[in-house]
């Protein structure tokens, strides 16, 4: 599939960075070999420099076109990787999600990325069996469904808040049922009070919980995930707001957090389960893949999605190269036309007796210089494009995306350079086929 596969296999004994550098060199090799063969023994560069300077604005336009097409291409590919890393980083705190059987992807979106949807609830007994299972170090209900000003309100436990944000940047953990800890991006101050609305987004019912008021007591660290725009409240409060039992027997009604009493547990859409050891997480997943429960690793679901997207990525890379080659072909056609402006100078060289290969090397070096500068500038444009698109995506999704160019993009640019520098042989041949005397007299 990957034409570079055999190469990587041959050099897999090297450190990763060395492998990438070797691949970069190999990809640049055709360009270097062609360049060496074309230029060997000659010094065309003062002429090339003169010609570049002579038509500097046209050349700048050509370089700009190449740079933009290369830059957007690699910027998008970097973005795709950044998005994968960003979504995975946002899912990092979520070791194992246990929910009622259904769609893993729906639950992933709801529990990890806070895109709520109506899902069946897990019962108190189920929660109890999860919380008391071997090796479980954290079993936190994630009760979503309410919101305030488009900030999702999630009911959980103090342990969950500590899991998401080991320390609070401001204030303190909730102690009372009406306390709330907010995400780093929530536009509320410590001490502010608000009334939750039932539902999220368009389906919100503002007056449903009109009698209830939360007070902000603390703020979590930034997580680079939609949880930065969330409000975490005691799960007991969420149940109470909905007129349900609050998870504890009446004589312990003031308690916050686990243990919960299965008889007074109204249900939760999802439970975040965490174990210290990786093997234990897998054992727990196996244990809770039952008829009543679904257990999954957000990371594994993402990996499957990424696997599906892998083909998309390859198609994208190919499309990017094709677009870049098309733009460069356009530029080379422009060069053939520009060559008419150089025709007299090239004819002069040939009239003076310059070898054909020298004239060829002048034209090729000219085109190759435009391509090379364009590609290098394209890397700069790519960094910029990746940064800008990242910012837009982060603002739109609340998932922190830090896309930046890396080896795959550099490899792509190197391949692009080699391919187009070979294409640049064409205008050089065309320039050689022009009639000397006609060009000389023009």
């Amino acid at each position: 599939m990957n034409p570079l596969g055999p190469l990587y296999r041959a050099i897999e004994w090297m450190p990763i960075a060395a492998q990438d550098a070797v691949v970069l060199l190999v990809l640049l090799l055709p360009a270097l070999v062609v360049g060496g063969l074309v230029i060997f023994g000659y010094r065309p560069f003062s002429l090339v420099r003169a010609m570049l300077w002579r038509f500097r604005w046209t050349n700048l336009l050509f370089i700009g076109l190449i740079a933009v097409s290369v830059g957007i291409g690699v910027g998008l590919i970097a973005q795709e990787r950044g998005l994968r890393q960003g979504t995975a980083r946002a899912a990092d705190p979520f070791d194992l999600i246990v929910a009622a059987p259904g769609s893993e992807i729906t639950m992933l979106f709801a529990a990890v990325y806070l895109q709520p949807s109506d899902v069946p609830l897990l019962s108190g007994d189920t929660y109890q069996s999860i919380a008391t299972a071997e090796n479980v170090s954290l079993a936190a209900p994630i009760a979503f469904g309410d919101s305030y000003n488009a900030y999702p309100i999630v009911g959980s436990t103090p342990q969950f808040v500590t899991h998401m944000s080991p320390a609070l940047v401001e204030g303190a953990m909730f102690r009372g049922h009406a306390d709330a800890v907010i995400g780093s991006g929530v536009d509320l101050t410590i001490g502010a009070t608000f009334t939750p609305a039932h539902g999220v987004g368009d389906a919100v019912e503002h007056d449903a919980h009109a009698q209830f008021k939360y007070t902000v007591v603390g703020r979590m660290q930034p997580t680079g995930s939609p949880w930065d725009r969330s409000i975490v409240v005691p799960v007991e409060a969420v149940w109470e707001v909905h007129g349900l039992a609050n998870g504890h027997a009446p004589e312990r009604a003031d308690q916050l957090g686990p243990p919960f009493d299965p008889d007074y547990f109204p249900g939760t859409p999802a439970v975040l389960v965490s174990a210290e050891q990786l093997y234990a997480n897998y054992a727990l997943r196996a244990q809770f893949q039952t008829a009543e429960t679904m257990a999954f690793f957000p990371g594994a679901v993402l990996a499957s999605l990424h696997g599906l997207m892998g083909d998309v990525r390859q198609v994208m890379s190919v499309m990017a190269v094709i677009t870049q080659v098309l733009v460069t072909t356009g530029v080379l056609v422009g060069l053939v036309i520009l060559m008419r402006l150089f025709a007299r100078r090239l004819a002069l060289l040939r009239a003076l007796g310059a070898p054909s290969r020298f004239v060829f090397s002048v034209v090729w070096s000219y085109a190759a210089t435009l391509i090379f500068i364009g590609a290098v500038a394209g890397v700069g444009v790519g960094f910029l494009a990746a940064a800008i698109i990242s910012r837009v995506v982060t603002a739109q999704t609340d998932i922190l995306v830090n896309a930046t160019l890396s080896w795959p993009e550099f490899h792509l640019v190197a391949g692009f350079i080699s391919l187009t520098v070979l294409l640049a042989l064409v205008p050089a041949f065309i320039a050689l086929s022009r009639p000397v005397i006609t060009d000389l007299r023009s």
Partner: protein, 167 residues
């Protein structure tokens, strides 16, 4: 004319049925290869993706039908320098396979090694894995050793070609 048609149909039907029987017989034959059982542990549908690389992941369904817990400790194959149990882990946004030295399987429970989860990672493959062929792997569960055939599926397969069958 009608008689001729009927005869042709009858002939065709017999051939198809014969083929059906044959196909079934074949499935049944390698059925035995798909399930291996020893000392109360059953391994089903071991498979791997075809590759020409030097590492591969082997997936298999393990079922502990015994009365006591067993522990998956590793594996061994002539085809690779090493074989280790690994699990996909999310470490700060990087999804990587981490070695799991020991994996308990409770009595009467099932442990599925499948893509993007648990797998036996073979490193230092001595030969390419060719689609349609198979190789043998010895799965170690404490003292119990299960020698099972690993079916090599296509490079892009996401499950065993017989997955979903009840054995």
């Amino acid at each position: 004319m009608i008689r001729a048609c009927l005869i042709v149909l009858a002939l065709l039907a017999t051939t198809i049925m014969a083929q059906g029987t044959y196909a079934h017989g074949e499935a049944h034959q390698d059925h035995d290869d798909h399930v291996v059982e020893a000392d109360g542990v059953r391994a089903t549908h071991a498979w791997a993706n075809a590759t020409t690389g030097s590492t591969a992941l082997v997936y298999v369904e393990l079922e502990n039908i015994s009365e006591s817990a067993v522990t998956l400790t590793g594996a061994e194959t002539e085809l690779a320098a090493s074989a280790q149990l690994v699990g996909l882990e999310n470490t700060g946004g990087e999804l990587v396979y981490t070695v799991i030295p020991q994996m308990p399987i409770a009595a009467g429970s099932k442990m599925v090694l499948s893509p993007n989860g648990l797998a036996i990672r073979l490193e230092g493959l001595t030969a390419p894995l060719v689609h349609g062929e198979h190789f043998h792997i010895e799965i170690a569960l404490g003292d119990v050793h299960l020698d099972t055939a690993v079916e090599i599926e296509s490079a892009t397969a996401t499950q065993h070609s017989h997955a979903g069958h009840q054995h």
